[in-house]
């Protein structure tokens, strides 16, 4: 089956055969093959179909720039669409399928679109599919979408894992070709920390593709020897199969390591891929060059291949892509392929060079090999449906002739691979000397060497590489030992000018994958889409999966010629990360599924879990939502029971998630006066006060309590959601606004586990729990008292505060004692019928009490809106005071906090409903506010709600509607005070 495998000493291991399938058919290759080289070896030429016209396509390149040979790799949940056969390392059992074809690759019905090609020109869809208007979504677009896309996503969760890692180095070398190896070696020998990355699994770059000599050895041998020395240096890290795909600010490089893509499935505990963030003090970019196709009729047919790729297959993989190969070139490098083929004793049909004059040495060498040469000639077209069998050539005298060949190797010269030099905004510069763009102004920490810098000779690559590596190391304090220059076999410094062709018969493709032809570019120019960006966007040139690596410059040169401009003036499309496409999962790393965000657990979590609690996500926290008893299947039953227990006996709730901040210093009181809208400095030691915090724009930011433990010592509490935000706010006030104050703030949220103990029997419970540790009698420890004391040999704090509206306390203990403490509370309360309650019951009781929470503190409410306007102190300045006085924040029709109860008390309310007057039409201009929080109150046996109602303060007992069309509800309610329960607060003080 291995029809095209030839003898030779390439980089495949003939002792390790590998079998794989393509479109279900079994093939064989060797360790060291890519899927592309193995398919070529097996004589497979038709590999895929193009995007628009479904033209048959083969293998164009031998690298990551491949636009044509894309396959669906693997199967099931591991299926990967659009995988480049040219960089897919062969492994045992590899499954590949052709894509974007139906029913089969050889017979693809989609190819009928090719018949419509005269209509399907660039931008045709902008000119049609407009009538009738309703047809776009129903008829036209579905048809377009059926044809859209290339390969298929798996539609299943990716079963593999991914991870992220960080690396730091003095010198990062990108590319392990001759220039990169030389750079890494000189930097590495200096003792600097060096990282060398290459996307390939084999180092050496073009040394594996071209038969070159360094110091008398084959180039590939030198590469392996150099690789081995680098591997032996302790401060050098070699990262093969690793693509540096993006350059970011702060010398940060994004790289993808394909850890397991060359094996059937990842080994245990190995990720499929690892996403590296590399921080490098200096960078040497040695990313090589990419060969330019030529634009001529039929240049997309299977069997037309880049001349450099032909050499790669020949020398590295010992595969000849054909038996009789013609060459079409406009530069000297293409001739090397002729020589290489002749050397491998492959029949070279002809070397066709578009130029009239070439270096005599080239002619001599061709003559020596008996290769026919045609100068000043052009290929006009290629023939045969599924692969090249002949070419139509026009010679220098205008004669057309047919040349039989099964493969056409083409070369339009090489483009330095400047992509990574431009990610930070540097624009490439046109070099007339090599007819290509080279790196422009570089950031000071980056140098570019070898072919990437337009230095195409091997000696030049080695020398510029070594010098740049040495210089990079030196600039960060490492001196490399002197080294001699390498001896390299003789080479022509070949001309590399840009030639875009002119004549063609048949479609001449510029962007292969997207089927953008020379005619499309001409049409775009006629229609005024002449800038590089407009051209790209109008024709889709360069937007395919190769991002224009093989097409952009040709396209720009053609449009420049069509519009009488210089290619240099047209500029290039900015290269953007990623350099080659990167799996989304790799960028996410381990942060997916349940590990998307970390979980925060309170000290009482295990206890609550053992009690069978249902948990709810509260930001990163998991909090007990309710504690169902055996037999309770519906949340409302559990919650009603918990509320009733708190209102009649006693309950305990884990409130450890609330933010707790320790504020100390001589100016602590003055500081808190500026932070809070109400007065704090007048609070007595041993007392607690409610505190309301505004943003500087006058809106309420957060609320909580402030406890004064000592003259210069306060404990501030925040809501769970705003704990980090308030901490940052206090640090801002302390460090930025008022740095002269003597105040110190420390988060103590994690130090203390805190439990609310609430209900008429809570004091009894505490007496039993604390014994002599603290006198909790109403006289000794009245409402809003606080105390620090010692309990069971450890510090404890007690606050007499209540969110539920009952006689209540919050007990804080060191978090390590948190679980024991809640168990002790339950034990002490056992005969008092204590129940644990969760956030739902907490929510019901705070609504019954009319306390505001997250739904009301939504960042657009003022203190006055919340009915807390009288808290704003007039005796001092505080954050938010002045801007809260703006007219818009004091408009008389602003919605303010009210309570509502349904006229039919069992009718369910839904938060998010809007308030309307009884007779009003549902329209925005009649909107009078909305319902923010609702609950079924077991205490009052009715649904209740809090909401914001326009002029609500003056609308007591009015009937209005809660309009809720998204839930098909419209409920008549009565406006009440927001406090439904114990409005005088008698129970708090009892």
């Amino acid at each position: 089956m291995s029809t095209n495998r030839i003898a030779g000493g390439g980089a495949i291991d003939r002792n390790r055969p590998i079998s794989f399938t393509f479109d279900g058919k079994v093939f064989a290759g060797f360790k060291g093959d890519t899927l592309a080289s193995a398919l070529l070896a097996a004589g497979v030429r038709l590999v895929g179909r193009s995007f628009k016209y479904h033209r048959p396509r083969g293998i164009l390149t031998a690298g990551s720039e491949e636009p044509n040979a894309l396959v669906e790799l693997r199967s099931g949940a591991r299926r990967e669409a659009n995988s480049r056969a040219t960089v897919t390392e062969l492994f045992e059992g590899l499954e590949a399928c052709s894509q974007n074809r139906w029913p089969s690759l050889t017979f693809d019905l989609g190819a009928v679109s090719s018949l419509l090609a005269p209509v399907f020109v660039a931008g045709f869809y902008y000119k049609t599919f407009m009538w009738p208007a309703a047809f776009w979504e129903k008829i036209y677009e579905p048809a377009i979408r059926r044809a859209a896309g290339l390969g298929r996503a798996s539609l299943q969760a990716d079963p593999d894992t991914y991870e992220k890692a960080h690396a730091f180095c003095d010198v990062l070398v990108i590319g392990a070709g001759p220039a990169g190896l030389a750079a890494a070696l000189s930097a590495g020998r200096s003792g600097a920390r060096v990282i060398l990355c290459d996307e390939d699994f084999l180092s050496g770059g073009r040394l594996n593709a071209d038969a070159r000599e360094i110091d008398g050895d084959g180039g590939a041998v030198w590469a392996q020897r150099t690789h081995a020395e680098l591997a032996s240096l302790p401060q050098v890290r070699l990262m093969m199969r690793t693509t540096v795909f993006g350059v970011y600010d702060g010398n940060t490089y994004a790289a993808l390591e394909r850890v397991s893509d060359h094996v059937p499935i990842p080994a245990p505990h190995q990720p499929r891929q690892r996403f590296w963030k590399i921080i490098a003090k200096r960078t040497v970019l040695a990313s090589g060059a990419i060969e330019r196709p030529l634009v001529f009729g039929g240049n997309d047919r299977p069997g037309v291949m880049m001349a450099g790729a032909v050499r790669t297959y020949l020398n590295r993989f010992n595969v000849t892509p054909g038996r009789r190969i013609a060459l079409f070139t406009s530069c000297d490098d293409g001739w090397k392929t002729g020589a290489a083929l002749a050397h491998a004793q492959v029949d070279v049909a002809a070397i066709i060079d578009a130029r009239n004059d070439v270096h005599p040495d080239l002619l001599a060498e061709a003559k020596h090999a008996h290769t026919p040469v045609m100068l000043g000639a052009q290929v006009l077209d290629t023939q045969s449906a599924r692969g090249v069998s002949a070419l139509l050539v026009r010679d220098a005298r205008g004669r057309k002739l047919r040349i039989a060949a099964d493969t056409l190797a083409m070369s339009g010269g090489w483009n330095p691979n400047t992509a990574l030099s431009t990610h930070l905004g540097s624009r490439p510069r046109w070099s007339e000397a090599i007819g290509a763009f080279v790196p422009g102004d570089l950031p000071p920490f980056m140098s570019v060497v070898g072919a990437a810098a337009g230095e195409f000779s091997l000696a030049g690559a080695l020398n510029t590489g070594a010098a740049a590596g040495r210089e990079a190391a030196r600039s960060v304090g490492f001196e490399a030992p002197a080294s001699r220059e390498w001896q390299v076999d003789e080479e022509q410094s070949g001309a590399n000018s840009l030639w875009i062709g002119s004549a063609s018969r048949g479609k001449a493709f510029v962007d292969f994958q997207h089927d953008v032809t020379r005619e499309d570019l001409a049409l775009a120019a006629r229609e005024g889409f002449k800038s590089a960006e407009h051209l790209k966007r109008y024709t889709t040139l360069g937007m395919a999966t190769d991002q224009g690596k093989t097409s952009a410059l040709n396209g720009h040169a053609i449009i420049a010629a069509l519009t009488q401009r210089e290619t240099a003036d047209l500029g290039t499309i900015a290269s953007r990360p990623p350099y080659t496409p990167v799996a989304i999962a790799a960028l996410a790393g381990a942060h997916r599924g349940r590990d998307f965000k970390p979980v925060r657990l309170t000290a009482g979590y295990a206890w609550a879990q053992a009690r069978g609690a249902k948990f709810v996500e509260a930001g990163e926290w998991l909090r007990a939502q309710w504690f169902p008893l055996v037999g309770e299947t519906d949340w409302l039953t559990s919650v009603v029971r918990e509320v009733t227990a708190v209102r009649t006996t006693v309950g305990v709730c884990d409130v450890s998630t609330l933010g707790k901040i320790d504020v100390q210093g001589n100016d602590a009181a003055a500081f808190l006066d500026r932070i809070y809208a109400n007065l704090i400095s007048t609070l007595a030691v041993g007392r607690v006060r409610y505190g309301l915090m505004l943003r500087e724009d006058g809106m309420v930011m957060d609320d909580g309590t402030v406890a004064r433990l000592d003259n210069d010592h306060y404990i501030v509490s925040t809501t769970t959601a705003n704990a980090a935000k308030v901490m940052q706010h206090l640090e801002h006030a302390r460090q930025v606004l008022w740095p002269a104050l003597d105040v110190q703030v420390a988060s103590i949220s994690e130090q203390w586990a805190q439990y609310a103990i609430a209900g008429p029997r809570s004091r009894l419970l505490l007496e039993r729990l604390l014994g002599n540790a603290l006198d909790v009698s109403n006289v000794a420890f009245p409402y809003l008292a606080c105390a620090e004391f010692s309990w069971q040999g450890r510090p404890a704090r007690l606050f007499r505060i209540s969110f539920s509206g009952e006689l209540a306390y919050e007990l804080a203990v060191p978090a390590r004692q948190g679980e024991a403490a809640v168990q002790a509370i339950m034990a002490a309360g056992e005969t008092l019928d204590v129940v644990p309650y969760g956030t739902e019951a907490l929510g019901v009781m705070r609504i019954e009490k009319g306390h505001v929470a997250g739904n009301e503190l939504n960042g657009t409410t003022t203190a006055a809106d919340l009915g807390l306007g009288k808290l704003l102190s007039k005796k001092k300045d505080f954050i938010g005071r002045v801007l809260a006085s703006r007219p818009g924040l004091n408009a008389p029709d602003r919605p303010v906090l009210v309570g509502v109860t349904p006229v039919n008390r069992m009718t369910r309310l839904h938060a998010g409903a809007h308030f309307l007057s009884i007779a009003a039409q549902p329209a925005l201009e009649n909107d009078e506010g909305f319902l923010s929080s609702v609950a079924f109150s077991p205490t009052l046996h009715t649904w209740i709600g809090l909401g914001f109602l326009s002029r609500g303060a003056a609308r007591g007992a009015e009937r209005i509607r809660c309009h809720d069309p998204v839930r098909s509800a419209d409920v008549e309610v009565r406006v009440t005070s927001p406090c439904f329960y114990d409005p005088d607060g008698g129970r708090l003080k009892s």
Binding site: F124, M130, E137, T252, P581, R592, G593, E617, G912, F930
Partner: protein
């Protein structure tokens, strides 16, 4: 030539040699009735409606680079009118109505695709906030549906319904929302405006204003001075820079927003989906690429590129929402510069200088607003008074406290 299937077929037979430029590449005249600074979607739409609706044809659109080179060509193409506040909702609904008739209005297929916009919610509080927004939409006659988890699962079965850290509870769906082809919007407006006599001038950068005392009388450009009775600026991302040429300070910060497109894959995501437990939105283009993005990077920038933390954040959210995205590859990322205002809502208003008008502050929601923004800005320029659906977009609202803060984040632009 009119765009139609008949002309397309006729041209197909003629090798498409008969198509002329989509718009005239005009040379600047010495004066105009109105100059629009900024050849993006908003500026071109303004010119179109000035000519078509308000009969003002002597108009120039000045673009410093190529048409659509700013955010018009750098967005994620989403259109929707699912807003909460009464100052926003009618405006975006006007925009949606204009989208719905845009192809016929412009004789240009902008590929408006009303395939639905679904905002997922993951908690009771979020559900209630979305219900509140959906109800506001319904009260203005805008379509909105609150879906439960089962309904979401029927639409998008490949979302993570099993192992999610923040389980999907349901979603708010606006079926009339969707996407449009962003570049086509620019080109369509340019062509339509040009056909009505508007001069479209590319590579013409404004570097100063001509003044007569406190009055603006024209602009100074890289292609000479140009007089105008009225000058409107629509240069989102660069508003502060251009306004500073007139010594104006505005409540705007420039921030970078990154966006991403994947390789083209066979369509499987039918609508626009937003994740509610992180900042992430995604849709699939008619070419097959997944177009997605997340939050702004969070710092002032004019660099049109962002950094890795946000790239990672976006992809993490994507994976948390759709684990089937894992092996789909990001093809390209880019950055646009957003005009972030201090309340997250835009400004369409007179400047404090006579003759100068401002259309700015679109945050990262400018694309969907393009038609209505152009319409209302044209109204302001033509009539000298605010259009009724844009009357909340006053410049002085920050000073007076009549804020339009959908998210409640206050004067902190990187949080909107």
């Amino acid at each position: 030539m009119r765009y139609s299937i008949f002309n397309l077929l006729r041209q197909a037979l003629a090798g498409h040699s008969g198509w002329g430029p989509a718009w005239r590449d005009a040379e600047p005249k010495r004066s105009y009735d109105v100059i629009i600074v900024g050849g993006g979607g908003h500026g071109l739409a303004t010119a179109h409606y000035l000519a078509k609706v308000y009969g003002i044809h002597n108009v120039a659109v000045l673009e410093k680079s190529w048409l659509g080179s700013g955010n018009a060509g750098r967005n994620t193409t989403i259109i929707r009118s699912n807003y909460l506040l009464p100052g926003n909702n009618p405006f975006y609904e006007l925009s949606m109505k204009l989208w719905e008739g845009l192809e016929q209005d412009l004789n240009y297929n902008t590929m408006v695709s009303q395939r639905g916009v679904l905002n997922l919610f993951h908690s009771d509080a979020q559900r209630d906030a979305y219900a509140r927004r959906g109800n506001a939409m319904r009260m203005h006659g805008v379509d909105a549906e609150l879906l439960d988890q089962a309904a979401v699962r029927r639409m998008l079965p490949f979302l993570d319904f099993e192992g999610a850290r923040f389980p999907i509870q349901g979603g708010l769906l606006q079926r009339r929302g969707g996407t449009a082809r962003h570049d086509a919007v620019v080109w369509g407006y340019a062509r339509a405006a040009s056909d009505r006599g508007v001069d479209i001038i590319q590579n013409c950068e404004v570097n100063g204003f001509l003044r007569d005392g406190a009055r603006i009388t024209g602009v100074r450009t890289t292609r000479g001075d140009i007089q105008a009775a009225k000058v409107g600026i629509a240069v989102a991302g660069n508003t502060s820079r251009v306004a500073s040429l007139a010594s104006l300070r505005l409540p705007i910060e420039s921030h970078v927003l990154q966006a991403f497109v994947s390789e083209a894959i066979k369509p499987f995501i039918s609508c626009v989906v937003t994740f509610g437990a992180g900042h992430f939105y995604i849709s699939q283009s008619d070419k097959g690429g997944l177009v997605f993005g997340g939050d702004i990077d969070g710092y002032n920038s004019y660099a049109q590129r962002g950094n890795l933390p946000m790239v990672e954040d976006v992809c993490q959210s994507g994976m948390a929402l759709m684990p089937a995205l894992g092996r789909v590859r990001v093809l390209r990322s880019w950055g646009g510069i957003m005009d972030m205002t201090m309340d997250g809502s835009p400004i369409i208003d007179r400047a404090p200088l006579e003759g100068l008008y401002i259309n700015a502050g679109w945050c990262y929601g400018g694309f969907k607003a393009t038609p209505a923004s152009g319409y209302c800005f044209a109204h302001l320029l033509a009539r000298g008074e605010r259009h009724e659906t844009a009357r909340a977009y006053r410049l002085d609202r920050f000073a007076t406290g009549h804020l339009l803060d959908e998210k409640g984040q206050g004067p902190q632009p990187n949080l909107h």
